[in-house]
């Protein structure tokens, strides 16, 4: 048996974790059960998100071959083939009868309302919930009485920071001055913001830009084109109101952040700054794991625990069996249309929003490990055959896994797709700047829980910085990470990507 206690820093300090109550009962339950102890891993995390997708104890089967088959694939010699991982959330483990809970799970599968089949994490319906949150944000905010920014850890987006904006602008001016000196500065100067939110960042940037340009005296503001991009047209409309005084310099585009070139292809190699704040951590992601010498895809399926499912079904005059279909209908139509489509269960929009919020609160993810027959068989982004799509092979993961040490990490498929597509927009002297939750070292996955968690109605996962840096590097970019310098505390990291050589 392997025991992996990841939050080891919590074994010290004023309130150290007590292993005898947070872990030993799990091991005792395993000892009294029927599992082959030689093929068990016990993993302890400290799940810092109060709202998340895990139970205190989860069992994760470790498959020895992919269910779909696909021919014999060599298993690395000396690989350790475990059967089961027992995952414990240490933060909550003292609140339950841990041994009994573990023993119950080991004896038989718990009763659950399963909402989908097994699949890659990025394909789970939790991302449909996530998308629904942003597209029906107004209804959610009305129900909760608070804006989405209040759900962020710092209470506001770092995108509004004026010092950060000034620093960016001064950097742009320096590049433009140099290009201007060699007669190589284009007439039109493009800046793109992905994930514009309510337009606050854009306003801060444009206000500061105008002021700095007055001081600088080169007339760059006159040539500036600021492109606000967001998933939601509604949000874009609000953002345009926010930047009304700069409107002659602003265009807006409703687009999917994972594919900016679908709308901005005409700007290939022309954009001097792509600015992204708190977007990547909210895009779909898989997780992969290297355990005992083999590489696995972490498959998930969403479910509602039996008790919550029964309560939720009862609240909308439905049976538990009807619940999955109602959830899918909600995700397909949204709460505004649900009363029309399922009037027997939802008399009005408020009741549909209530159903949405309660379903979201109860939502959990089961996990299992499925071996990857080869990194090349694992596309990091969906293979659509779409013209202009940049294929990303799982081979890109190799440098991060080749040490052979155990690690489980995010792939951040959506962020990767967005990142490489955005790089195609950059002028040879352009820069991509991103403020987000980044894991900047693979070791960071071995000590801390990195998601998924729930931020209000959306999903949050930390972003795999070494992977983005590697992918950027293979595309000719230097990618750097620095702590966000303009606010103390917090976990926000600034990623900067610029052409190298």
């Amino acid at each position: 048996m392997l025991v992996d206690f990841r939050p080891h820093t919590r074994l010290r300090g004023t309130k150290p974790v007590d292993l005898t109550t947070s872990l030993v009962p799990v091991v005792e339950a395993l000892g009294e059960g029927a599992v082959d102890l030689a093929k068990v891993r016990v993993v302890s995390d400290w799940v810092q998100y109060r709202e998340n997708f895990r139970d205190v104890v989860d069992l994760r089967p470790i498959l020895h071959s992919a269910p779909a088959g696909g021919g014999a694939v060599p298993v690395p010699m000396g690989a350790r083939e475990d059967d089961l991982e027992v995952a414990v959330d240490v933060r909550r483990s003292h609140d339950v009868a841990l041994k009994e809970l573990t023993a119950t799970l080991l004896r038989s599968a718990p009763d659950r309302a399963v909402l989908e089949g097994w699949g890659r994490g990025s394909e789970s319906l939790v991302w449909d919930f996530n998308a629904l949150y942003w597209s029906a944000l107004e209804l959610w905010e009305k129900a909760t009485g608070c804006g989405y920014e209040q759900a962020l850890p710092g209470g506001e987006s770092d995108a509004r920071n004026r010092d950060a904006a000034r620093e960016l602008i001064d950097g742009l001016f320096a590049v433009w001055d140099r290009l201007s000196a060699s007669n190589a500065l284009p007439e039109e100067l493009y800046v793109v913001e992905l994930g514009v939110g309510n337009g606050s960042q854009a306003k801060v940037f444009l206000d500061e830009f105008r002021d700095r340009d007055r001081e600088h005296g080169r007339g760059y503001y006159r040539r500036l084109h600021y492109l606000m991009c967001d998933y939601s047209q509604h949000v874009l409309d609000l953002a345009r109101e926010t930047v009304a005084e700069h409107i002659a310099h602003v265009s807006s585009f409703a687009l999917d952040a994972t594919r900016p070139r679908t709308s901005l292809g005409f700007l290939q190699y022309k954009v001097f700054l792509v600015y992204i704040s708190n977007v990547y951590d909210n895009l779909p992601t898989d997780e992969v794991a290297h355990l005992g010498g083999r590489t696995y895809c972490v498959q998930t399926r969403a479910y509602l625990p039996a008790g919550e499912a029964a309560e939720l079904a009862g609240s909308v005059a439905a049976s538990t069996q009807e619940l999955p279909a109602l959830v899918h209908k909600l995700l397909r139509l949204g709460p505004a249309l649900l009363p029309e489509a399922a009037a027997a269960h939802f008399p009005d929009v408020d009741s549909a929003v209530g159903f949405w919020r309660r379903a979201w609160a109860a939502l959990r993810l089961e996990e299992r490990y499925v071996p990857l027959p080869g990194l090349d068989t694992y596309p990091l982004t969906p293979v659509t055959g779409r013209v202009g799509q940049i294929p990303l092979s799982g081979e890109l993961l190799r440098p991060l896994l080749e040490s052979g040490a155990d690690v489980r990490m995010h792939v951040n498929n959506g962020a990767l797709a967005s990142f490489v597509d955005s790089l195609m927009l950059l002028h040879p002297f352009g820069t991509l700047v991103c403020h987000d939750l980044f894991v900047t070292d693979i070791e960071g996955y071995r000590t801390h829980f990195r998601g998924p968690g729930k931020y209000d109605g959306s999903v949050v996962n930390w972003v795999n910085g070494p992977l983005l840096a590697h992918v950027g590097r293979r595309r000719g970019f230097d990618v750097h990470y620095d702590r966000f310098r303009h606010r103390t505390g917090g976990n926000i990291v600034t990623m900067t990507a610029q052409v190298r050589d």
Binding site: S182, A184, P186, Y269, V387, G388, S393, E395, H427, P428, R473, R474, R475, G476, V499, D501
Partner: protein, 367 residues
């Protein structure tokens, strides 16, 4: 260019590097693979690249520059007097940090870079005419930390003299078409005079057909610079080269009139394939690009090629693009044959095949 069909097709130089080969090259630079093993890999890959080009019916082929880790290091690492502090690389394509702290020794004896041996291997593997390309002195100098010369121009010229020795050795081994690549030039338009001076040192006394390739960069399939080819003129008219090989497909053909306006009366290698996109051009698009070029340059002074090297494309995409390029060129040859019966080489397979006898490529065009 005697003996080749009208509108001969060729490549700029590099050919796709498969992912497996990138891994092997990287293993070498991490000290996990022997030099002999890597050489074997290179030779197998060169044979395959030649075969691909022959199957695509490219008139003038290249070795795909597959021995090179990038456009600079292969040359600089072999150049006496260039120091490399760290010879290991995390990724083979990375550039070495190079410096020179004493004037480069003048070439004396056998050409040190060994390019003639590289050519000889390629020559032994194909019956087609060969273009052999190498990076020019200006671009080779750009990333070298210069602690030896008071004037950086002197470093450029010193490198040029070494390349001239290589060119003599290449010609002695039978090379007939040599191309100087200057991928950094577009970023330093004010230094064109020095670059041309150095190019003329490289070509001096070497009686072959000389090409000069200037693009906007192709590192990682991205442009490194933006601008227009105006900067080349009139200085490039003083360059002792026979062909100017330029990038047009990606940027559009706005610069074609520039070439004509400044009186370039030698051969133009017109880029008709965008190497920075995976989208395969149709033969009709290729043909339209060639026809546009023909509005400014007569057919007997036009060579058809991609914008730049193919190294960043996948093999499948590169093969498809070359096939489209050859098919599009054939369309234009056919239409030109309809215009005139005085072009016996036009789209006559028998003549095409005869033209691929490398013996017909013997004489350099007059400069």
């Amino acid at each position: 260019m005697d003996g080749l069909p009208l509108l001969p097709t060729t490549v700029v130089g590099s050919y796709p590097v498969p992912e497996w080969m990138e891994r092997l090259k990287t293993e070498y630079f991490r000290g996990k693979m022997s030099h002999a093993q890597l050489q074997d890999v290179h030779e197998m890959a060169i044979k395959a690249a030649l075969r691909d080009q022959e199957l695509a019916r490219i008139d003038i082929v290249s070795d795909g520059e597959l021995r090179r880790d990038n456009d600079l290091d292969y040359f600089l690492a072999r150049m006496p007097g260039i120091e490399i502090a760290h010879t290991a690389k995390d990724f083979y394509f990375d550039y070495f940090d190079t410096r020179v702290n004493a004037p480069l020794p003048a070439p004396d004896g056998p050409a040190p870079l060994g390019l003639a041996d590289d050519f000889a291997f390629t020559d032994s593997q194909t019956d087609r005419p060969i273009k052999f390309s190498f990076t020019g002195p200006f671009s080779l100098s750009r990333r070298v930390r210069d602690e030896a010369y008071a004037d950086r121009r002197d470093l450029v010229l010193a490198i040029a003299r070494i390349l001239n020795a290589e060119a003599h050795a290449l010609a002695a081994r039978g090379a007939r078409l040599l191309q100087i690549d200057e991928p950094f030039l577009a970023g330093y338009p004010n230094e064109l005079g020095t670059a041309v001076e150095a190019i003329n040192i490289v070509t001096a006394g070497v009686d072959v057909t000389w090409g000069l390739h200037v693009c906007y960069g192709n590192r990682y399939a991205r442009p490194s610079w933006e601008g227009h080819y105006d900067f080349l003129f009139p200085a490039v008219l003083d360059a002792a080269v026979d062909q100017l090989v330029l990038e047009f497909a990606r940027k559009g053909h706005d610069d074609l009139p520039v070439v004509e306006k400044h009186g370039w009366d030698r051969v133009l290698g017109v880029g008709v394939v965008d190497v920075k996109t995976d989208q395969i051009e149709t033969p009709a698009l290729i043909a339209s690009r060639i026809r546009l070029a023909l509005e400014f340059v007569p057919a007997d002074r036009l060579v058809v090629n991609p914008d730049c090297g193919l190294r960043n494309l996948t093999g499948a995409v590169a093969r498809a693009k070359l096939a489209a390029m050859v098919a599009g060129t054939a369309q234009v040859r056919r239409s030109l044959a309809g215009d005139s019966v005085e072009n016996p080489a036009v789209e006559n397979p028998a003549v095409d095949d005869a033209a691929h006898d490398k013996g017909a490529f013997g004489e350099g065009a007059p400069r």
